[in-house]
Symmetry: C2
Subunit: 346 residues, 2 copies
């Protein structure tokens, strides 16, 4: 098969997808979206799953819905290469929560596996179609798209981030560099405030459900964030994978109706519940001071929270030429509005 | 409402159910079965859920399916009493896995809450219908049925069990004693080998999926166990709650097609997969010796495993007058056969 035919195959059919990290919070939604949008979907079943029955049964439920489980391990590079070879698109959704330093090592292993799978493929094309190819030609025959585990604030804009939370961004940038150096086609899906973590609790720390009496407002409460149902994030993510417009670009999500201030979010809940909450203003200085005595992971999470809630890191920039906005590209996707989302908490 | 009318209400309608421990392995299936069988289903939403987003989203998915969440905490006895007062039947599915000693304390608190809820109800009946009642009359007005967290081997038959696994049985007997002393109507649902833990792995330890080459057979491999899909266990459990035949009795599950030896189970898999496995016989002595260097929890689990796999503790007795067999009572329930169950692993 020549490169041209290979590309045609992609245009005519839907790409085959491998999801790595499929049992995670975002991963399980990505698998569902991939199946829903008609992609042949492979899921890495890691040996490390051990005796985690919930994860195994989640994987088996994917299989029942049509996904194909492929066994592999990050301790067995060959197994990763074999898994990658089965597909056109690789999506990594390994958790970076709790600032797991091994997540970056796993992602770099995955990048290596994609390189290796690509080079092997190229070699066989070369022999049949082109003869011996140059290095640059080899590099074009990787998977058609790799989506590393992003789904957070755009790390390219977070060089100023607070320690220790900045580690997450630094690690994502290292993975991006490895991808780009290997000339692997990519899309970086930056996400918004996951509704599960930011909306049910009206952006309060230490709870996941709406407060009953009083609420902390960050600064004046007017900083704009983007609140998204995680299923919509997954839908947009899968939409991008065969889309030439998102090739080697960063995807941002800013559906107009999902851009809200915290004050507006609270107002929506008050209207739904029919009860006004006492509001306590927390200044940026107070918030930063409250981080001091927290442990490493909590400090990291609170730092991210600070950037979103006080600096507006999700909305305080224009999307440039290296980016695309999801609701603009895919107006057919109807995103859940947060007044709808909050109703389940009534 | 008089006692007679109260009883009529139960006969005419389906009882209202409260599930405590609803996000657990068995609990989530019990909730589904309760909703499927048309019961108004309440689920205790514990404050202790904290930042566990998976548990919260599971609870919200129950709510979307029609369950009612009721907030409460084991640190707030009044909240338990209020939750119990809403229903006729209480089902506890708190995990006893890892030999959590606080599980027994929580169950005893629940028994107390049922007693308290019952007494308050009685008092109001007494005032309007009977005047001051005797203690024995008070005792008849508890919830109509309580199912404690059993779902394992029948603890009444496990007085000889190996330490430290015997703790589970001892604790269940303490809970039973509290229930019976309080004259709370009960059903003890003893279960069988959960397919998730015993079938996918062909009863091997340290894996949940079928071994690829060799398999350990326990003794001659001919001891009979009962292998059940957990959804069927939940279906039977809900069937019992309004059934006078299971009042103050123990339910055993022995659908004829689900009673199999380990050897037969392996044979089924070999036939499905088309591959014969090397069999390694482990004598009872060898198995017991292999427990020696294990930690507390593993030793406990292995002890249970020994009773099932070598002694046949699920099948080595006749069901007496204090018990009923599920497939006999509910022949309309078609249980998943293990050849069907194993197909997902192909």
């Amino acid at each position: 098969m020549t490169l041209e035919k290979h590309q045609n195959k992609r245009i005519m059919g839907k790409s085959k997808v491998l999801v790595v990290g499929a049992t995670g919070y975002i991963g399980k939604r990505i698998v569902k979206a991939s199946l829903d949008q008609g992609h042949t979907t492979y899921v890495l079943q890691r040996h490390e799953i051990g005796l985690d029955i919930d994860k195994l049964q989640l994987l088996l439920s994917f299989k029942k819905q049509g996904a194909r489980l492929v066994e592999g391990s990050f301790s067995d590079q060959k197994s990763l290469v074999e898994a990658v070879k089965k597909v056109d698109v690789v999506i990594c959704t390994l958790s970076g929560v709790h600032f797991k330093s091994h997540s970056i090592l796993m992602q770099l292993k995955l990048v290596d596996a994609i390189k290796e799978a690509g080079n092997v493929k190229s070699l066989s094309y070369d022999l049949f179609a082109y003869g011996k190819g140059s290095d640059s030609r080899l590099a074009t025959k990787h998977v058609s798209r790799f989506l590393p585990s992003e789904f957070g604030m755009d790390p390219a804009r977070m060089g100023h981030a607070l320690a220790p939370g900045r580690e997450t961004f630094d690690q994502k940038m290292i993975v991006r560099k490895a991808i780009e150096e290997a000339k692997i086609p990519f899309t970086y899906v930056t996400a918004s405030c996951f509704a599960g973590y930011f909306v049910g609790n009206l952006s309060q720390l230490e709870t996941l459900t709406p407060p009953k009496d009083k609420i902390y407002l960050y600064g004046d409460g007017n900083v704009k964030a983007v609140y998204m149902d995680e299923d919509d994030i997954a839908t947009f993510t899968i939409k991008t994978i065969d889309d030439p417009r998102t090739l080697n670009k960063t995807l941002y999500m800013r559906p107009p109706e999902n851009i809200l201030s915290q004050r507006k979010l609270v107002e929506i809940w008050e209207k739904l519940s029919g009860k006004e909450l006492e509001k306590i203003i927390i200044s940026g200085e107070e918030f930063l001071a409250s981080m001091e005595d927290k442990d490493y992971a909590a400090k990291g999470g609170m730092g991210h929270f600070y950037h979103i809630s006080y600096e507006g890191s999700l909305t305080n920039f224009e999307i440039g030429e290296d980016g695309e906005e999801a609701s603009n590209l895919y107006p057919e996707v109807i995103c859940t509005r947060m007044d709808e989302y909050l109703k389940i908490f009534l």
